[in-house]
């Protein structure tokens, strides 16, 4: 079957009424799941899984991809409005998006987020379309040692880029990775740091970490401020300005979408690390980096372009090699196998129309999602002017519900409280929290790849040229960070 034949078959499926119905259901579920903090794609795909068993396999892409397409667009709403990441993929958006909302620019931040998400998503889909013949040799060239080093690079980069004190950034990045080691050790029958508490045997869920360290402390600090989320009563600059911002920073959008695409390729990473690394890149590559974190629209555009692109790219290892690109994709694979579609080499031969249907649907859902979100941006933005005391009970209820989704265990609520205390202290003590989150997310992945590398290659993987190259890059980043800290310290001493 040629590419064009497969493409035309995919288009024929798209013209049916059932396709459009399934797409709308997917988008609706994605909108609900994306708006509710902490739920994310895993919950969304899990919710749909029971319904797809008896379905025509060609109705699954609109249902699943429709959901995934809008998820990363709509999840920026709670991130911008309440500093609660809708999913892990929008955590970095909080830094500048929420700061913009506080300045009364929620509409502009959301407009920028939606448009950047849409363009990033389209770039990811385009990469997916192009990569069908190219991806196989690229992914096969990388093994567990390279993936391990990439994970370590991610933590180092975010740590180094965390302000005037990179040592603090790296230290909390390491703390995050250490917290990720709580629970069972991979490949070894041993429990670590569990204090004999059964709840900790499976480790702390990421959602608890994000809500505890970020969401509750931010909510409390808004209450301390005593007004509404937005410090101004009149909202300035709407979604149209955000769209213009995205277009004027097209080069940043493109770069971050490419970063997201590459990270999405790497099995197991997904949009979580992609948005942080893109944010770090935006900070690093700007001449006025001190504006970030204080409501710079580039801090919204960069992570939002990357997370949607990563989602599109994560479909590549999932469909072509049966290696899930993200946790959401892991469940998606399960659904495909149930329906008799085996991800792997046959996806580029007999199942090629199915692959194209997935890609086009994802692109279509991205555009549709951005349009729907933009229509409702104005009323949503007004929420930021409501006094915080009226929002607090809703936020706390939602956070506790989202936290309880972690493992549906009473235990979820205890670490939430402990992590709130940790996040609050870090904020007061001026220790950056993002490196801890990214460290936590990458910790398990890094350890798994390290374990595979050691078991499979012994110590010889350390001599792999790619590993050496990334290792030099990590050391270079660290030394650059140390130099930066020394420089900033001597400047403070001079200005004493």
């Amino acid at each position: 079957m040629t590419y064009f034949e497969a493409l035309s078959q995919a288009m024929q499926h798209m013209l049916s009424l059932q396709y459009l119905g399934a797409l709308m259901i997917g988008i609706l579920v994605g909108a609900v799941v994306g708006f509710l903090p902490g739920m994310g794609g895993v919950v969304g795909v899990s919710l749909m899984l029971p319904f797809i068993y008896e379905m025509d396999p060609y109705l699954v892409p609109p249902l699943m991809m429709g959901m995934m397409g809008i998820l990363r667009t709509i999840d920026s709403i709670p991130a911008v409005m309440f500093s609660i990441p809708g999913t892990a993929g929008s955590a970095a958006t909080i830094l500048d998006g929420y700061a913009m909302a506080k300045k009364g620019e929620a509409g502009r931040a959301l407009g920028a987020a939606f448009s950047a998400s849409m363009i990033g998503g389209l770039i990811g889909c385009f990469a997916l379309l192009l990569s069908v013949p190219l991806a196989r040799p690229l992914i096969m060239a990388c093994g567990s040692p390279e993936f391990f080093m990439l994970s370590m690079l991610g933590v180092t980069m975010v740590g180094v880029l965390s302000g005037r004190r990179p040592l603090k950034g790296i230290a909390v990045g390491i703390l995050g990775m250490l917290l990720a080691t709580i629970g069972g050790a991979p490949g070894v029958s041993s429990l670590r740091y569990t204090f004999d508490l059964p709840y900790l045997y499976n480790g702390i869920p990421l959602v608890i970490m994000a809500l505890g360290v970020y969401a509750i402390p931010e909510m409390v600090f808004v209450v301390v401020g005593g007004s509404s989320i937005s410090n101004v009563t009149r909202l300035t600059k709407g979604a149209a300005q955000g769209f213009r911002d995205t277009l004027s920073h097209w080069w940043l959008v493109l770069r971050c979408a490419v970063i997201g695409t590459f990270i999405g390729f790497v099995p197991g990473l997904g949009s979580g690390p992609a948005n942080w690394i893109a944010y770090g890149h935006a900070v690093q590559s700007s001449r006025d980096a001190e504006k970030f974190g204080k409501g710079d629209v580039r801090g919204v555009i960069a992570p939002e372009s990357a997370n949607n692109a990563a989602d599109g790219a994560a479909v590549i290892p999932t469909l072509l090699f049966g290696v899930p690109g993200s946790p959401t994709m892991a469940i998606f694979i399960g659904g495909l196998i149930v329906m008799g579609i085996n991800p792997g080499p046959e996806m580029v031969t007999v199942q090629l129309p199915f692959v194209f249907l997935c890609v086009i649907t994802l692109a279509f859902a991205n555009v549709l999602g951005a349009v729907l979100c933009t229509i409702f941006v104005k009323p949503i933005s007004r929420i930021t002017t409501v006094p915080i005391h009226y929002l607090m009970p809703f936020l706390l209820m939602t956070i506790i519900l989202a936290a309880y989704q972690g493992t549906r265990h009473w235990g979820d609520l205890i670490p939430l409280l402990i992590l709130f205390c940790l996040g609050w202290t870090m904020k007061v003590a001026e220790w950056p929290r993002p490196p801890m989150l990214i460290g936590f997310e990458l910790g398990r992945i890094a350890e798994r790849y390290l374990r595979i590398s050691v078991v499979r290659y012994g110590a010889s993987w350390l001599l792999n040229p790619v590993v050496i190259f990334i290792g030099i890059f990590i050391i270079g980043s660290f030394l650059w960070g140390v130099r930066k800290q020394r420089k900033s310290q001597s400047m403070e001493e001079e200005g004493r």
């Binding site: 919710l47 700061a99 250490l178 740091y193 204080k294 009226y390 519900l401 003590a429 310290q489």
Partner: protein
């Protein structure tokens, strides 16, 4: 307050990393300790260096400014005392909410929390309080429980009073 909090947090991190090293060496099975040790040792060193720098700067009379651009900035004008008091009060509200969930179950706890919080903290009018509480009831009874299939564990009261839709 910031200097004190910074020192306390540094010491706390040193204790965490020390314990991580201790447990990795003393309690973990062979092979399980590699990654934690790989992290905890450099983590301990970095935090120790940071602690030294904090104290060194203080001795020299230099204020260490570490406001970062990769985190949200503290931009309210509340005094340290107010920050502590209000944060403590919020912590107390959360603890009371937890306690209420444990005793009367999530649904009743949410209703009680909304009524009490909106009356005491927000000082809202009863019409607003009742409307917002009603909205939350709609959310938990019809949206979360039915649509999202969220079920809460049995509450203390639920074990004695057999009204499953409420407790």
């Amino acid at each position: 307050m910031k200097f004190k909090v910074r020192i306390i947090f540094n010491v706390f991190l040193l204790i965490v990393f020390s314990y991580a090293i201790y447990e990795a060496v003393a309690k973990m099975a062979r092979g399980a300790e590699i990654f934690p040790l790989m992290l905890a040792i450099p983590g301990f060193i970095l935090v120790a260096v940071q602690l030294f720098l904090e104290i060194h700067s203080r001795v020299k009379g230099v204020e260490m400014r570490s406001e970062g651009f990769v985190d949200l900035s503290l931009d309210n004008n509340a005094s340290d005392r107010d920050t502590l008091l209000i944060s403590g009060r919020m912590l107390l509200w959360i603890l009371c909410f937890y306690l209420a969930i444990y005793i009367v179950g999530f649904k009743v706890a949410v209703i009680a929390f909304f009524l009490l919080y909106l009356r005491w903290e927000a000082r809202g009018r009863w019409i607003t309080i009742i409307s917002l509480t009603g909205l939350s009831c709609y959310g938990i009874f019809f949206h979360f429980e039915k649509f999202m299939s969220i079920h809460w564990p049995d509450s203390l009261l639920g074990k004695w009073v057999n009204v499953p839709w409420l407790f």
